[in-house]
């Protein structure tokens, strides 16, 4: 406070206004402090202790981190998370871009209708999407297996087969994201100046060439944006894997978030381990984010 009044940069009116400013910031700052900053500091601190809800904290230094890094389940969960990233991010971007590209030149009324319809699943919770697809993928009488049997094939065990377990998580995830992603891609496509295409047509470029040399480079920023969002989102996948497989079979679809949730549920276990795992996930996500941001920044500085 004292420092503020000594600051001659500001006039008395401005200083009076400042008080209003601080008051307007107060609720946000207080809430962020209590519910983000303090839990975060506690997480860092608690990761150096062995503790749980019944036991007092025992200082163990970096033991927790060592243990979690050697923990087979956690390792598997992290590997799975990256596997999901490799599968889901490109697949989703390709689907959303192709669909937006298909819609591009169609009648506006029609595309508005399509945009509305495909966005509806985007409002639905992961829990509900999970239940609906569990029902569709049900082993005995589920829709897919009925069709499979009708075609004379063998029923698919979505929960016990590694491939199909991943598939059963991928489908609802793609379903939930399709609307928003397509709309975003569509907006990006519409923003590409038509002169680019006209010039290319004069030069005799084919549709394929236009796609490769104009459309895709122009969409780069959107792809990068989607990449970051989807990657960080996929690394934190929780509700759909929990509903569809619970991590089965043999932890092949266990995600880090699911691992941490299970650790939290196991109140007698060592919470220090779980928290250090959660911190490691944050570091991984932060590295990915900063990596992508540096790419974007260097791009912009070249352009500007």
């Amino acid at each position: 406070m004292a420092k503020k009044t000594e600051n001659y940069k500001y006039t008395s009116v401005q200083r009076k206004e400042m008080i209003v400013g601080y008051l307007m910031l107060l609720p946000a700052v207080v809430l962020i402090t209590i519910f983000v900053i303090i839990p975060f500091i506690m997480a860092v601190q608690k990761s150096f202790y062995e503790w749980n809800f019944y036991k007092d904290d025992v200082w163990v230094g970096i033991q927790n981190f060592r243990r979690i890094l050697r923990n087979k389940s956690f390792q598997r969960a992290v590997v799975n998370a990256f596997k999901f990233v490799l599968i889901l991010v490109p697949t989703q971007i390709i689907i959303q871009f192709s669909f937006a590209h298909t819609l591009r030149d169609l009648n506006t009324k029609f595309t508005n209708m399509v945009k509305m319809l495909i966005y509806i699943p985007g409002t639905i919770a992961g829990i509900i999407a999970g239940i609906i697809f569990m029902f569709i993928f049900e082993f005995k009488g589920g829709l897919i297996n009925q069709l499979v049997v009708a075609m004379g094939l063998e029923r698919i065990a979505f929960k016990t087969n590694r491939f199909w377990a991943i598939f059963s998580i991928a489908v609802p995830t793609i379903w939930l994201g399709l609307g928003g992603g397509t709309i975003l891609n569509f907006a990006g496509l519409i923003n590409i100046p038509t002169e680019f295409y006209e010039a290319a047509s004069i030069d005799g470029a084919s549709g394929f060439h236009k796609l490769i040399y104009i459309t895709i480079p122009q969409m780069r920023n959107i792809f990068v944006l989607q990449c970051i969002g989807m990657t960080t989102g996929t690394l934190q996948m929780f509700e759909i894997p929990m509903m569809m497989t619970g991590g089965a079979p043999r932890e092949s679809t266990l995600t880090p978030m699911l691992y941490i949730y299970n650790g939290f549920r196991n109140a007698g276990g060592n919470m220090g381990d779980t928290i250090s795992g959660a911190l490691l996930m944050m570091i991984i996500i932060a590295i990915i984010n900063s990596f992508v941001f540096t790419i974007i920044k260097s791009e912009k500085s070249i352009e500007g």
């Binding site: 962020i32 839990p39 975060f40 495909i118 239940i131 029902f135 929780f238 949730y261 939290f264």
Partner: protein, 280 residues
Amino acid sequence: MRHKNILYLIRRTLAYTISTLISLTCLFPLVWMIFASFKKKAEVLATPLRILPEEWQMGNFRVVIQNPQRPLLDAMFMTFLVAASAVVLSLLINMMAAYVFARMEIYGKKLIWSYCITTMYVPGITILITSFLVVHKLQMLNTFWVLLIPGLAGGYAIFFFRQFFLNLPNSLEDAARIDGCGRFGIFWRIFIPMSTTPMVVQGAGVFLGYWNSFLWPSITITNNKTLYQIMPVIRSMQTDYGAEYGRIMAATCLAVIPPILLFVIFQKYIVKGVYLSGLK
């Protein structure tokens, strides 16, 4: 020339057909859910496959609504109350902060700004357990407040509104100043009314976030039935009814009504919002 026209026509017809098919496929899981909710138990997973219910009966809805263990409608009402309060409060809190960051000169602004904004980089996963400890210490567990308050302020929302306020003309303040308006007055009487689109976009996002949240309510509300939130209730119905999907689908049918209704009403804004957030 004629050959080219025919090719163009075929391409367009194909594009329309594919787009229609994809849209219908997208809606199909929801349609399937609705059909199942009206089916009798024996029909739901019956072989051979039955698409439409033999008779549109409301039995499933009656059972899930009257389940005394999991009061579905009460949970929906309570979730709505929490979500609606969250929309109002979080808009106010984050917009006030965003206004200061965008339009005011205060001492230490940069520092406070980075303090608020770095929270965007803390994933929920990292602070789940310690947030639980915090609300436990504050004796907020099993209260209305534990559902409402922790998610209100957020770096992303502040960032979003600040971006919008920065793009509004500076003359707004000058005119209001001449009329003797204070800073809060300017914010309240000029900036809020001018922010309908971002408010609807952000507000819808907050509502959906609260309505669809599962993890937080399921660990913080454990012994207070009146505060049960919809998603944990739906999840436990899955354990209650096992493979009786007709019942579960009836519950999910009811649970998706508010978000879909919200989307249909504010559709134009929300679609615009996807542009806004994507094309900075």
